[in-house]
C-alpha cells in the first residue's frame, strides 16, 4: 500500500507537485472567503454588541448573549413580513407548479399539433418583454395592485423552469408507457397524474425549490406592486432594516449619550440577527437539497 503511494508520488512531476500545492492553498483560501462572511454574521448575532462594535469579534463569538434576538422579537413588523412571506412562498409555489405542469406536459407530447407554435410563443418572452410600466399597467387594470395576488399571479411561470420540466418529461419517461396507459383506457390527464408525475419526483422537487427560493427572496415584486404595510414581505422589512439607518436615528432627542450609543449598538446587532432569522430557513434545508439543485442545473443544460 505504502509503496504504490510513493510510486504515485514519483510519477508526479515537479511542476505538478507545485500545481497541487498551490491549488490546495487556493481552495482553502476560497473556502475561507466563502464561509467567513456568513460565519461572521452568525457569531456577531450571538455576541455582545459592544464587542462587535469594538471589532473584537472575528473568529469566535465574544460575550455570548441573546440580546439582539430579544430586540428582534420586539420588532413586530418583521414578523408580519415573515408570515406574509411564508404565505407567498407556499401559495405561490403551488400555483407555479400547477401552471408549469399545465404548460410543460402538452409541450412534451409530440402528437400535440400546435406544440411548436406554443413553445415559440412562450420562449419569445424570454428575450423580449413589455417592460416595467406596461406590465404594471396591466396588473393595475386587473385590480391586483396592493393585493396579495400581485405577489403570486404575475410571477406564475418561469419559461426556463418550464423547459426543464418539459425536457424531463420528454427524455426520462419512456413513451411506451403512454401507449400502455392508452390501451388500458386512461386519458391524458389520468396518465399525467398517475404515471408521469410520480415518475418525475426529482425534477418536480428541483423546480419547486427553485420557485420557493425565488418567492422567499423576492423583493422587486413587492417594491413595484405593494404599498400596504400589512401585505409587505420579509425582504421589504429587511431592506428598511439593513440598508437605511432610519430606525436607529428615531427618537434620539431626550436621551443621554450612553443610551444613544447603546441603542445604536443594539440596532447594529439587530441587523445580524435579522439576517440569520431570514436566511436560516433557506440555508438549513440547503445541505439536504443541494444535490437536487445541482441536478436541476444539469437537466436545464440539456439543449432545449
Amino acid at each position: 500500500m505504502k509503496s504504490t503511494y510513493s510510486g504515485k508520488l514519483i510519477k508526479r512531476s515537479y511542476s505538478d507537485k507545485i500545481f497541487d500545492i498551490v491549488n490546495t492553498m487556493i481552495m482553502i483560501m476560497l473556502l475561507f472567503i466563502f464561509a467567513w462572511p456568513l460565519w461572521f454574521v452568525l457569531i456577531a448575532s450571538f455576541s455582545d454588541p459592544n464587542q462587535v462594535w469594538l471589532g473584537n469579534v472575528v473568529l469566535w463569538p465574544k460575550g455570548i448573549t441573546l440580546d439582539s434576538y430579544k430586540a428582534l422579537w420586539e420588532y413586530k413588523s418583521i414578523w408580519t413580513g415573515y408570515a406574509n412571506t411564508i404565505f407567498y412562498t407556499v401559495v405561490g409555489t403551488v400555483f407555479n407548479l400547477i401552471i408549469t405542469v399545465c404548460a410543460a406536459y402538452p409541450l412534451s407530447r409530440k402528437d400535440f399539433l400546435p406544440r411548436k407554435f406554443f413553445q415559440w410563443m412562450f420562449m419569445f418572452t424570454m428575450y423580449f418583454g413589455g417592460g416595467l410600466i406596461p406590465t404594471y399597467l396591466v396588473v393595475s387594470d386587473l385590480g391586483l395592485v396592493n393585493t396579495r395576488w400581485a405577489m403570486i399571479i404575475p410571477c406564475a411561470i418561469s419559461v426556463y423552469n418550464m423547459l426543464v420540466v418539459r425536457n424531463y418529461f420528454m427524455n426520462s419517461i419512456p413513451p411506451s408507457l403512454q401507449e400502455a396507459a392508452t390501451l388500458d383506457g386512461a386519458n391524458s390527464v389520468q396518465y399525467l397524474i398517475k404515471i408521469v408525475l410520480p415518475l418525475s419526483k426529482p425534477v418536480m422537487a428541483v423546480i419547486a425549490l427553485y420557485y420557493a427560493v425565488g418567492h422567499w427572496n423576492d423583493f422587486y415584486t413587492a417594491l413595484v406592486y405593494l404599498y400596504d404595510e400589512k401585505l409587505l414581505p420579509l425582504q421589504t422589512f429587511l431592506r428598511d432594516m439593513l440598508m437605511s439607518s432610519k430606525m436607529s436615528l428615531n427618537n434620539l432627542s431626550g436621551m443621554d449619550a450612553e443610551t444613544i450609543a447603546r441603542k445604536m449598538q443594539i440596532s447594529q446587532t439587530l441587523k445580524y440577527s435579522a439576517i440569520i432569522v431570514s436566511t436560516v430557513p433557506v440555508l438549513c434545508i440547503y445541505p439536504f437539497i443541494q444535490k437536487y439543485f445541482v441536478k436541476g442545473v444539469m437537466i436545464g443544460a440539456v439543449k432545449g
Binding site: S13, F19, F34, I99, Y105, P114, F118, Y272
Partner: protein, 314 residues
C-alpha cells in the same frame, strides 16, 4: 389552379387542427390557462409598449392618447445624465462579464484537479450557498463589511496603515463593490455547469497526454479547455445578450444619495421616472431603448460566434 391549391392547404391545416382538438382536447384544456396568462401578462404589455411613441394619458388609454413619434427617445438622448447612465450601465455589465465570466471556469478547472476529495466536496458545497441568499441580505452584508468604522475592509486597511474609507459613499468604489460581491455570490453556482462538462471529458485523452509527459497545466490548456469549448461559448453568448441588462434589484439596493454618480443605470432610471414620477410614456421609451439594444447585442454575439465556431443558440 394555384388558388385551389392554397385553399386546400388551409383547409388541411384547419381540418388537422380540428381533428387534433377532438383527439387531444384535454391537452388543449390544460394549456389554455397558460396561454391566457401569457397573453395577459406578457403579450398585452408588449402591445403597451406603443405608449413609448405616445403622450400617454391614463384617461385616454393607449389607443386614445396622441402620437408623439420619437419625442420620448429624443428627450432621453438629450438629458444631461444620458451619457452617465449609458456609461454606468456599460461599466457595470462589461466589468461583470470580463471578471465574472472566466472566474467560474478557472474555479471549475482547479476544483477538477483537487486531490483531496473531502476538501473538494466542502468547497463545492460552501461555494453554492451564497447563491441562495437574497439580494437584500447580500446588500445588507455589503453595507456591514464596508462600514467606515467597524467593517472588515477598513480593519484590513488599518493593518496596512491606510486611512479608513466610507466605501458606499464613494462613487469610485461602486463598480468594484457591485462586481466582486456578485462574483462572490455567483461563482460557485456558475461553476456547476462547467464541472459537469468537465466530468464528461474523455479520460483517454488525459491518459494519452500523461503518457506524452504533459503537466497538469498543459492538460488544462490542451485537453480540458478544448473539450468544454462549446459549453463556454454557449454561456458567453447568453451573457453577451444581457450586456445592457444590468439587474435592477442590486443596483437599486446599493444606491444612496452619495454614490448616484456611479450607481444610476438605465433600469433604475426607468423605475424612478416611471414609478416615482409616473411619467409612463417616457419610462416605457427608455425601457424599450434598452431592450432593443439588448436584442441587437444578443443577435450580433450569436452571429459572430456562429461564424467563428459553428456554435449557436438559435
Amino acid at each position: 389552379m394555384n388558388r385551389i391549391k392554397t385553399n386546400q392547404k388551409k383547409d388541411n391545416l384547419f381540418q388537422r387542427l380540428l381533428r387534433d382538438i377532438k383527439r387531444n382536447w384535454l391537452l388543449y384544456v390544460m394549456i389554455l390557462p397558460v396561454v391566457v396568462w401569457f397573453l395577459i401578462f406578457c403579450y398585452r404589455p408588449m402591445y403597451g409598449v406603443l405608449m413609448a411613441f405616445k403622450d400617454y394619458k391614463v384617461k385616454l388609454g393607449i389607443m386614445g392618447s396622441p402620437w408623439v413619434g420619437l419625442e420620448h427617445f429624443k428627450r432621453f438622448v438629450n438629458i444631461p445624465s444620458f451619457k452617465n447612465l449609458i456609461r454606468n450601465t456599460l461599466t457595470l455589465s462589461i466589468y461583470s462579464l470580463v471578471a465574472g465570466f472566466p472566474i467560474p471556469i478557472i474555479f471549475a478547472l482547479l476544483l477538477n484537479y483537487l486531490r483531496q476529495p473531502r476538501l473538494k466536496k466542502t468547497v463545492q458545497m460552501v461555494s453554492y450557498a451564497p447563491f441562495f441568499i437574497s439580494t437584500v441580505v447580500i446588500c445588507g452584508m455589503i453595507a456591514i463589511f464596508t462600514a467606515q468604522d467597524t467593517g472588515i475592509f477598513n480593519t484590513i486597511r488599518g493593518w496596512f496603515g491606510l486611512e479608513s474609507v466610507d466605501f458606499m459613499a464613494k462613487p469610485e468604489w461602486f463598480a468594484d463593490i457591485y462586481v466582486w460581491s456578485g462574483i462572490w455570490q455567483g461563482m460557485g453556482w456558475s461553476s456547476i455547469i462547467y464541472i459537469s462538462a468537465l466530468s464528461g471529458v474523455d479520460y483517454e485523452l488525459h491518459e494519452a497526454a500523461i503518457v506524452d509527459g504533459a503537466t497538469k497545466v498543459q492538460r488544462i490548456i490542451h485537453v480540458d479547455l478544448p473539450s468544454i469549448k462549446s459549453t463556454i461559448v454557449m454561456l458567453l453568448i447568453l451573457q453577451m445578450g444581457s450586456l445592457m441588462g444590468v439587474g435592477f434589484e442590486k443596483v437599486y439596493l446599493l444606491q444612496n444619495p452619495l454614490n448616484t454618480e456611479a450607481s444610476s443605470v438605465i433600469s433604475t432610471y426607468v423605475y424612478s421616472v416611471g414609478m416615482i414620477n409616473s411619467d409612463y410614456g417616457y419610462s416605457t421609451a427608455v425601457g424599450l431603448f434598452n431592450s432593443i439594444i439588448n436584442i441587437i447585442l444578443l443577435v450580433t454575439a450569436n452571429a459572430i460566434v456562429k461564424k467563428l465556431s459553428d456554435e449557436s443558440l438559435f
